[in-house]
């Protein structure tokens, strides 16, 4: 039975090694903030952090995650994450909100790696995260604003 370390807690999950992490997180562990959008790593709604690195959980398999620290949107913490979530709320970035767990995960990873991203950095880092409501204009503004607040 694969063991998963999710948000600092170990879970023994009853699933085959080739089960996508996404479905283990949602259906076996019961954390539903991570969303299903495409199943093919094309939309980014299922983004989680593996050892801090943004990864598509729908194309990550639970047999490959021994010793890896998995963070979902529920487990986000720290200054960068709190700032991003606060900015997202202050700017009313979300519309339907379905992709926003993934957007937030990607934005937090970007700002952790690149504290002062340019528009091009943002486009490159977040191009894999689809938003069908096209909240992109505010996502971009949100990343810049979070960077500004984090620097202050």
């Amino acid at each position: 039975m694969p063991k998963l370390n999710i948000n600092g807690v170990d879970h023994q999950v009853d699933g085959p090694a080739d089960m996508p992490l996404l479905w283990a997180i949602r259906d076996l562990v019961g954390l539903t903030g991570t969303k299903f959008g495409c199943g093919q790593a094309l939309c980014g709604a299922c983004t989680v952090h593996l050892d801090g690195y943004p990864t598509r959980s729908c194309q990550t398999f639970i047999g490959d995650l021994e010793g890896v620290k998995i963070t979902t949107v529920e487990g986000l913490g720290g200054k960068v994450a709190e700032t991003v979530q606060q900015v997202w709320t202050d700017l009313d970035v979300p519309q339907c909100g379905y992709c926003q767990s993934g957007q937030v995960m990607a934005a937090v990873a970007l700002l952790t790696e690149t504290p002062k991203p340019t528009d091009e950095d943002i486009d490159a880092a977040l191009d894999g995260n689809l938003c069908r409501c096209a909240t992109y204009h505010r996502i971009r503004a949100g990343v810049h604003e979070a960077a500004r607040r984090l620097e202050a």
Binding site: G33, L42, V73, D92, Y136, H137
Partner: protein
């Protein structure tokens, strides 16, 4: 959608539950104040409710709990566009609750309470960007009535005049000292009769309506994963089903062999439904992993087997013939064309488009021991679905309890004439003998290939110019499928014209003396549906791109030509002028930059777009977009901006690169976001939205941001390259 919808929906929608789903939970909050209108407008929940029983069904718009929490019960569905927030704003403008204690839930069950007044009131539903219009008076009155009852209760308690008691931030207060939270007075207020007259605040006294600083009540939960969608519904013992749908539209199950799949771990059953084969598992992956192990043979006798190319070839043939029906005639277009000094002609191709909302379609069904059937999902037309679900289950509609979920997008896809995925959940639950609650979750491929697209169309336009370059004649022939034919909405067809096919073309605002707009409706076996902005998704493009082409032929500035033709349409002209001014229309642009503009009215809101682009190696880059909108009185200015920003991205994405095609034999070519390609952040321009101040009645913004961005970009490209874009999407149109 138009008021006519009502006549044909009403029979299906008159089914009512004896008690709505939300009341079952509301009942538990004894002592809550519940406000509604009708013959029995106010009730205390629980025992008080029964005591106050009246002929009308239990009616409610607002619940105020003892802890001061205010729940607005929304007639309107929220798929992300912010209608819940809008209704909360309307209520609280009059109520004076603590904004942080307000939440909104979907309500249904009584069309007298929740019927869409923009559609005539007899049907509950969300569409045509009508949520704020239908709710503007209704929900303000509900808020005002609740406040009056609360102040009256406090007045009695304190023995002071109600007129001297204020309600602010959830606290009732008298200048002499006494104060109480809303929750403390809720039970007492619930015992009072609703006032006969309910005065509303004057426009000058509004503090929330029109307040750009008010934030959405639901943003935080959408950033931390706590906002629940249908996919997140968890019920004890719930199973998950995935579907194998027919590979062609109209095909049905011939036979299937599920022996291998049934033997797989976690698979509970594999069942046939009228909509395809369902693999039912203990969880999503168990069902998904087994799906490929099911062998199905299909009966394709009644299937649509034409490819998109074949279908479009038929449309091109038809567009050269006289239209089947005429939607608008003025003057004598044929005669004026024959006498014109110059004629301009263009034929436009529009592909099928998928809604491709981020949350793939899903629904949950549970049969209870007491015979009630609960459904959870994106219930955009709840009354209609209630009847359909009941029919599928073979039970009385009064036994259906509807839970209206907020959804991950919609764009029209969750308002279907057959309740597709909702009914499917019930069919599956029934097929397994209702032994457990079932969630059916479509994969992206199910969603993409599941039909209900924005139909493909071909348009042909001809304009006649006199020797001074004035447009003296305009003919427009639209060929495509009817969205509403053969559905409960077919009342929208009048004299052979499906209004959803011609809206935006038949009401062209430009002063052209001789005009004819015609329609030829084609029969194709691909299920169509409204797609955000409906008819205007193609009519705005055809008319505005063509007009620019005509302006070029006449040697006229596209802005000046439009303004001259819009003398009798000041609201069109005003948004156009505002957008042009803010964008710097007519000023010198940097080398390699070009601007295009377009204006369009849809759902009684007016939007103009100016797009600034550059071309590089045959690829277009949209740098900046300036939009102006007139949607009458604005309730949530920031939501208006957000919807126009989002609508701009949605419309731009379609124009640039979205198409859904049927390949040889009629199988959909696209399956996922690698082949069906909505806009990504790297292609999103900077967007500025300007709102025209207005005291006109409020109109919607969910859809009107979509239509004019495509032609604005196309018009900029034409100025850059000299070539009109007559085939969409642009990825195809630049090649042709």
């Amino acid at each position: 959608m138009l008021p006519k919808i009502i006549e044909h929906l009403a029979p299906a929608a008159t089914v009512e539950t004896t008690r709505r789903g939300f009341l079952m939970t509301a009942g538990a909050a004894a002592g809550a104040l519940i406000v509604g209108f009708g013959s029995s407008p106010v009730r205390a929940a629980g025992a008080g409710a029964a005591a106050a029983a009246a002929p009308e069904p239990f009616d409610a718009y607002i619940k105020i709990a003892e802890d001061g929490t205010v729940t607005v019960l929304s007639s309107q569905f929220d798929m992300g566009q912010g209608s819940y927030n809008g209704l909360a704003t309307l209520v609280n403008e009059e109520l004076g609750a603590d904004w942080s204690k307000i939440t909104v839930e979907g309500a249904t069950g009584d069309t007298k309470l929740y019927g869409n007044l923009s559609w005539g009131g007899a049907v509950q539903g969300t569409g045509g960007s009508s949520s704020i219009t239908t709710s503007f008076d209704r929900y303000r009155k509900a808020g005002a009535a609740a406040r009056m009852l609360l102040t009256e209760a406090a007045a009695k308690e304190w023995n002071l005049p109600a007129s001297e008691i204020t309600a602010k931030d959830g606290v009732l207060r008298h200048a002499s000292g006494p104060s109480a939270g809303f929750g403390e007075m809720a039970a007492k207020a619930a015992q009072l009769p609703v006032p006969k007259t309910i005065p509303l605040k004057g426009r000058d006294d509004w503090s929330l309506i029109g307040n750009a600083d008010l934030r959405r009540y639901d943003s935080r939960a959408k950033t931390d994963g706590t906002h629940d969608f249908t996919i997140d519904v968890k019920l004890p013992g719930m199973l998950t089903a995935v579907m194998i749908h027919p590979p062609k539209f109209g095909a049905t199950v011939g036979s299937f062999d599920a022996s291998k799949a049934k033997a797989m771990k976690g698979v509970v059953d594999v069942v046939e439904t009228p909509r395809g084969i369902a693999v039912v598992g203990e969880h999503m992956w168990a069902a998904l992993a087994a799906r490929d192990a099911v062998a199905v043979t299909w009966d394709e006798t009644k299937a649509e087997t034409r490819s998109s190319a074949q279908i479009m070839a038929g449309y091109h043939k038809a567009v050269e013939q006289a239209p089947q029906a005429v939607a608008r005639t003025q003057g004598d277009a044929a005669k004026a064309l024959a006498g014109a000094a110059k004629t301009v002609e263009a034929t436009f191709d529009f592909p099928y488009l998928a809604h491709a909302a981020m949350e793939p379609l899903n629904a949950v069904a549970r049969m209870n021991a007491d015979g009630t059937l609960e459904i959870w999902g994106g219930l955009q037309l709840p009354g209609l679905y209630q009847g359909m679900v009941a029919k599928a289950a073979g039970i009385d509609p009064s036994k259906v309890v509807s839970h209206i979920m907020k959804t991950g997008g919609g764009f029209g896809r969750r308002g279907t004439p057959d309740g597709d995925v909702i009914v499917e959940a019930v069919m599956i639950a029934k097929a397994i003998g209702y032994k457990a609650p079932v969630k059916v979750q479509w994969t992206r491929e199910n969603d993409m290939r599941g039909g209900r697209y924005r139909p493909a169309y071909v348009h042909k336009l001809t304009a006649g110019l006199d020797s001074d370059g004035n447009i003296v004649a305009w003919t427009h022939h639209i060929v495509g499928q009817s969205i509403v034919a053969g559905t409960p909405f077919q009342g929208l067809i009048q004299n052979g014209i499906d209004q959803t096919s011609v809206e935006g073309a038949s009401n062209l605002p430009y002063a052209i003396p001789n005009m004819q707009v015609g329609l030829t409706t084609m029969k194709v076996g691909v299920p169509p549906l409204w797609w955000r902005a409906v008819g205007s998704t193609h009519t705005a493009y055809a008319t505005e791109a063509f007009l620019d082409q005509v302006a070029a032929e006449a040697g006229k500035d596209p802005l000046q030509l439009r303004l001259a033709l819009l003398k009798d349409h000041p609201r069109h002209a005003a948004v156009l002028k505002l957008a042009a001014e803010k964008a710097g229309w007519g000023k010198k642009l940097p080398e390699g930059r070009f601007m295009g503009l377009a204006v369009h009215e849809s759902f009684h809101s007016y939007v103009a777009h100016v797009a600034e682009i550059s071309m590089k190696g045959g690829e277009v880059k949209v740098h900046r977009v300036v939009a102006a909108v007139d949607c009458g009185t604005v309730v949530n200015p920031d939501t208006v901006k957000a919807q126009i920003e989002g609508g701009t991205g949605f419309g731009l994405g379609a124009m640039l690169a979205e198409e859904l095609t049927l390949g040889t034999g009629g199988v959909v070519d696209q399956g996922n976001y690698d082949t069906y390609t909505p806009l990504r952040i790297s292609a999103m321009p900077k967007v500025e939205v300007h709102i025209v101040p207005s005291t006109e009645p409020p109109t919607g913004v969910g859809e009107p941001g979509v239509p004019s961005i495509g032609p604005a970009v196309a018009n900029a490209i034409r100025r850059a390259t000299g070539k009109p874009i007559t085939t969409l999407p642009l990825t195809r149109g630049m090649q042709s």
